[in-house]
């Protein structure tokens, strides 16, 4: 029996060429599906059994490893697969002590490791199996693929692609920085978590400093982010602060799921606040937060409804007014 585990072999591979034509193309996912091969996605660290192993051993192995099928192979030669269905049949028929070689499924649909991922997706759609064994050109078993492997691989690849776009932006930094840059970050903010309040704004500041934005612009973006971060911390039941830089503008958005603001106009007035004494003793809750955000913003929007959430959006132009 070979080694265990059902970890997907989808670590980021830097030697793989970047998606040359993707840029901001929304079809990036389709291109990934075409570009990735089954071997990039499959689990290659396989749990297998020889034909002589009993069905009970297969059952125990599936239970231990929390997997739903065990390939039967010897020295790389693939013979079949023991699935949960096979185990149930063996239990019903009283053949659980007999060999896998006798009771495994042998009529199988298999994939080849150099097939594109799109091929595997079509197979999942067509056959509705939970997994497919993967063979190489020499017809030797090299892996197994299930839909979870595909999801994981696509997430990893999309993250790589995002990093690549960001790195490209860094390389383009210096001239016309803002128009070509694309950054996106999200920070969950918990209610009353003052210890961590400010971390998002600080990180935004650091990233923009690295990319050599003018200090005055950085300060405005950081102030908007910090005030919105504190607002989430003080007034909401928790939410998310996100910011992005693209197309010559920075957007800082605070979203929460409650409790909402009854009178938005009142809340935006200088000096008005619902903060309690404890919050005020920390130097917050003076009713200046939203006023500050509006002051540093080129565009400012707030939408809220009592009993539901609030969204505040601050837009700051990076190189004068956008065209």
């Amino acid at each position: 029996m070979s080694a265990s585990g059902s970890q997907a072999s989808v670590e980021p591979r830097d030697e793989r060429p970047a998606l040359g034509e993707t840029g901001n193309d929304p079809l990036v996912l389709l291109e990934l599906i075409q570009r990735l091969k089954v071997r990039d996605v499959m689990t290659s660290d396989l749990v297998t059994l020889p034909r002589a192993a009993s069905m009970q051993q297969a059952q125990e192995l599936m239970r231990q490893k929390k997997i739903s099928g065990v390939p039967v192979e010897e020295n790389g030669r693939f013979f079949g697969l023991v699935s949960i269905d096979d185990i149930i049949r063996a239990l019903v028929a009283g053949t659980i002590h007999e060999s896998c070689g006798r009771h495994m499924t042998t009529k199988l649909v298999v994939l080849e490791d150099d097939m594109p991922l799109s091929f595997a997706l079509r197979y999942f759609d067509r056959y509705h199996y939970g997994r497919f064994p993967v063979l190489n050109r020499d017809r030797r078993l090299v892996g197994i693929i299930c839909q979870r492997d595909i999801n994981r691989a696509l997430l990893v690849e999309l993250t790589r692609e995002l990093h690549r776009l960001e790195n490209d932006s860094v390389r383009q930094g210096g001239d016309g920085v803002a128009s070509s840059l694309y950054l996106l970050r999200e920070f969950p903010i918990c209610k009353y978590d003052f210890e961590n309040a400010g971390k998002a704004a600080n990180q935004i500041k650091q990233v923009l400093q690295e990319k050599k934005f003018p200090p005055k612009v950085i300060r405005r973006i950081a102030v908007a982010a910090y005030e919105l971060e504190i607002n989430l911390c003080v007034h909401s039941d928790g939410g998310v602060l996100s910011w992005q830089v693209s197309n010559g503008r920075a957007e800082v958005i605070a979203r929460d799921a409650g409790p909402g603001i009854e009178d938005v106009e009142w809340a935006c007035r200088d000096g008005t606040s619902t903060a309690n004494e404890w919050i005020r003793s920390l130097g917050f809750g003076a009713g200046m937060g939203l006023v500050n955000v509006r002051r540093v913003s080129d565009e400012f929007e707030i939408t809220s409804k009592k009993g539901s959430g609030t969204t505040v959006k601050s837009v700051i132009y990076l190189e004068g007014m956008p065209s």
């Binding site: 003052f194 210890e195 309040a197 400010g198 971390k199 704004a201 600080n202 500041k205 200090p215 300060r219 950081a222 102030v223 910090y226 005030e227 504190i230 920390l282 130097g283 917050f284 003076a286 200046m288 937060g289 006023v291 500050n292 002051r295």
Partner: protein, 115 residues
Amino acid sequence: MTLDAVVTACNWEPVLVPDPMAEVSGAYVSDLLSDVMAHCPDGAVLITVQNHTNSVAVCTLVGAPAIVIVHNRDIPEDMQAAAVREGIALLRTPDDQFHAALMIGKALGSGEGES
């Protein structure tokens, strides 16, 4: 004027001074952190009673190199740790905000210890 020279001229307790040569161009007195963010100039030291980590975060954002804690208030460990991380100096004085501001105003106005 360097931070080191300001600390000496004002006789403030240097609780933590990561960069003694940091340039100080003024001071801002406030206990409201939103007010600090709105109006504190780059290079000014913040004179405040707010002895917690959020003051450090705000100073980092506005480019204030130091915080002067008035009334000899305690400086908690987490605030010191944040200041080390962010490279912000922490100073302390038994004076109130008004007198602390007078001291640094005098020091900067006279150019004493100017580098």
